[in-house]
Symmetry: C2
Subunit: 529 residues, 2 copies
């Protein structure tokens, strides 16, 4: 493991007080990888939360530009990791090197984008209402508002993006940007990857002189519960299963002081195929859908898991072509043995359901996942049967044919909340799409037209969120710069003298940011009165 430790990283130091030893495995061969990981003890979890808490005042109090420098330093450390690192991630996750290289860029660019947000300053939400001493019947005091980090954040990484949704991934980046120290619970599926990334963050902490405890990492199963229940933790970020996410939400809600949990959990990402598009390019659509469903072995939160259309010869033809296309594709290795087991169970559930018919796909066998296509009756969705609403994580998808437009609308109404909802439509279909959009807005965080939901751009306008159970709180996103909002809260200063105000609210506007002053947005400096 060279310089990499399998010990918990707490307050800037490595710690291994426990005696439960964990092992990481090669995702393809199942062989144990070099190195051992020491599960955190209750005391170490406490220590990690307290280290984050101790770092919080200094970290959130520093200039946002310094935090930006820290994020950029992490990005540079990630980018500097060599081939050894990429090989390790590939071995732990069975993901190909090109994908991991791309994901590493995405992760470091995500950190750099948050650095830009910190310099841009709109995250402060600065608002100033100046005093109106002559106002009748009562004068108005000077009132100024900006946002601060909520406090230490617990982050639970996802298995399927070992970099972009993990140790230094979106939730960590958003929390650190917001001024919130992080305690990261490593995913059991890529602990060695986490150790490398944590070491990279550690070097960035040192180079930019951040407080110890700004980032902490713990290993182990079941230790997350202690973390979420710790009084020092003020918010939680999670990407994973509905069961796991909901359990964290319930724990957080039952605390003496309840805290918000932003859990990204379960979505089947419906795709609605419109008639003109089916008629004009059914063959191409089948090929594209097949690629989207099986990309990365179907291990995306945004994998299209439900394909819908109104009954027609073109729709039937598409289903047939899609079946042929999926059946011709090879099996792929999944992220780990648990993921494969869960995929097998999901596929089995569909096989066994009387309302679901298997269309194509080799019998699920061996230690890889075979692509599968099923068709279900529309009535199943209308009956709110759970089998179709449950995400099957892996390269499987389900087709549903509506009898007519009216039934299609009913089906859409019956759907749970989603991360994405995609329309595949030609120009001639758009008139028919328009009245659906209001309904789609209520169902999902991101609406796509003629694209595929796999592939989530990291930018200002992205929403990777949506109504429950897609996430636990539709008001947040876990990808894109708006993700920082989850970890900020407003504070108002009444009648504070300029010297005591934080930089974003001072008269001279030393940060040069846009502020809402007396109801108008301006970057101007204010005259003292």
């Amino acid at each position: 493991m060279s310089q990499i430790s399998g010990h918990n990283y707490i307050g800037g130091a490595y710690s291994a007080a426990g005696d439960t030893v964990l092992q990481s495995f090669d995702a393809v061969t199942g062989a144990a990888l070099d190195g051992q990981f020491i599960q955190a003890t209750r005391e170490e979890v406490d220590a990690a939360a307290l280290a984050a808490s101790a770092a919080y005042p200094a970290y959130r109090g520093m200039a946002a530009a310094r935090r930006a420098g820290f994020l950029e330093a992490i990005a540079a450390e990630l980018d500097a990791l060599d081939r050894t690192f990429i090989d390790i991630v590939c071995r732990e996750t069975a993901l190909p090197a090109a994908r991991i290289e791309g994901e590493r860029s995405r992760t470091s660019n995500q950190l750099r984008l948050f650095a830009q947000v910190l310099r841009r300053g709109d995250f402060y939400g600065a608002r100033i209402d100046r005093a109106l001493p002559q106002r009748q019947p009562l004068p108005r005091a000077d009132l100024r508002q900006c946002r601060i980090g909520v406090g230490p954040v617990a982050v639970f990484g996802a298995s399927n993006f070992p970099l972009a949704f993990s140790t230094a991934g979106g939730d960590t980046a958003a929390a650190l940007a917001a001024g919130c120290p992080v305690v990261f619970k490593a995913h059991s599926g890529h602990m060695l990857t986490s150790a490398w990334v944590a070491a990279a963050i550690g070097r960035a902490v040192e180079k930019t002189a951040m407080p110890d405890g700004v980032f902490n990492l713990i290993y182990g199963g079941g230790v997350g519960e202690w973390l979420v229940k710790h009084p020092a933790i003020q918010a939680v970020g999670f990407t994973g299963s509905l069961k796991g996410g909901r359990a964290l939400c319930d724990m957080a809600a039952a605390r003496a002081q309840p805290i918000p949990v932003f859990a990204e959990m379960s979505s089947i990402n419906p795709v609605l195929l419109m008639p003109a598009a089916l008629a004009s390019r059914g063959e191409a659509l089948a090929a594209q859908l097949s690629a989207s469903v099986t990309q990365g072995c179907g291990q995306f939160c945004t994998k299209p898991g439900l394909l819908m259309g109104v009954r027609s010869a073109d729709f039937t033809a598409l289903v047939e072509k899609l079946g042929t296309s999926l059946a011709a594709l090879p099996a792929q290795s999944m992220l780990n043995a648990g993921t494969l087991r869960s995929y097998e169970q999901g596929v089995q559930r569909l096989h066994e359901h009387s309302g679901v018919r298997h269309i194509a796909g080799a019998p699920q066998q061996g230690n890889q996942a075979w692509p599968q296509l099923f068709q279900a009756s529309a009535q199943l969705l209308l009956d709110a049967d759970k089998v179709l609403q449950e995400e099957v994580f892996g390269p499987a998808t389900v087709v549903v044919e509506a009898a007519d437009d009216a039934q299609l609308q009913h089906i859409i109404s019956a759907l749970n909340g989603q991360l994405t909802f995609t329309l595949i439509a030609d120009e001639a279909d758009l008139g028919q799409c328009a009245p659906l959009i209001s309904q789609l807005e209520q169902k999902a965080g991101r609406l796509l037209l003629n694209g595929y939901p796999t592939g989530v751009e990291v930018c200002d306008a992205m929403v990777h969120g949506g109504p429950y159970p897609a996430t636990s709180d539709a008001r947040g996103t876990s990808v894109g710069t708006l993700a920082i909002d989850r970890f900020l809260r407003p504070v108002c200063y009444q009648n504070y003298p300029d010297a005591l105000l934080p930089a974003p609210l001072k008269n001279a506007n030393p940060l040069g940011i846009a502020r809402l002053v007396d109801g108008e947005t301006t970057s101007a400096r204010l005259i003292e009165h």
Copy 2:
């Protein structure tokens, strides 16, 4: 009751299916007032939630300027209510006419301020990242984001502001502004007032042709539980007790689909008196504090309930003067019999506690509330004894003397989350105040200097919120324009043609609003590419 009905108002019609009859009382005499109120049945609560749900697509889909017109129409209807109405509010709450007149203005101006926000358009949070078809290694799709109302909102009014925090109060105004229909649960303390205001809203609905069901009102004890558990309800606004608010939070978190609850609950609003200010103007401070503690019979969420300072002759003198001042003030009628009983119990708790000493105030007797001053040992706060952290709603306050600056800091650390934290300081004190501010920011939503927390300005910069138990979610405010954010969620449109995009995101920027376009804020129209 003239044109006023004591029936539930559901989907634009009055409904009285139940047989539980409720009565409103004169707050001073205890006499029953004219008119009866019919408690909502389970079916009526369902009907109200479904009426709100049915109104939601049309209401949130309409132009924000139309919603602004609706809010202004409600304001005009409120302002047009005559002396009969004011008399009714006074009789139900024992609040004086001048206060009610002022509160009515505050309420209608609050609605008008939200109308301005709707026209200003920053609530949309519009963000546009234009397509980058040539980008390497992958092109970027066109991505646009704006915010929509989350869905029907349940609002629970407060007793202490029968207009501004009630039927057409802050939560209702914020939800309606966000595009969310409201089901309002009337407070038992001012049902007649609620009926009048609901009728005013009903007239505004009619005049501005809003959908039936945009506003609904239900009466009754225990009916709130059905409302919060109803699947159509997507968020909850509440102002009241910690016990009541926490119960709603727990119900909402336990739903099949958990929903956010914004509960404003319990705060003791600490005031820290600094040495130079005590020395230079102790007498004036005692008079001002006395006025702030007893204003409106101490029935403000922001009443200063804890006065702190470092031990000194000046501090002792202030306590003495404050005692004299409070003892000289008359008893006042409280909002209702329940509030008086709760005040008596709170005062009794302080009397009985061995760590608390009674300083001044007539024995609590009769059917009015007498101002009371207590002094507690600093150790009580350090021991996290609950007696001092619990809000006593009414004209009582507690003084705590710290041995020195170090103990003062420990006391501040030991405090629960607060709505406000006030510093009373002279120029010479400011140097000593500065290092405290970081700590105060962690404790409260609003920090004041040389003012009193009673009196909450309705403006852009206000925060009426704060860490638990002041509120259930420190990221929200229930006063000021930022309150709208609680009821909005972002939606992203990927690759949507201009014709299908909502107005705030269209290229031509027909609303003329500021938008974040490719990382820069601009009101410009965009060129189609």
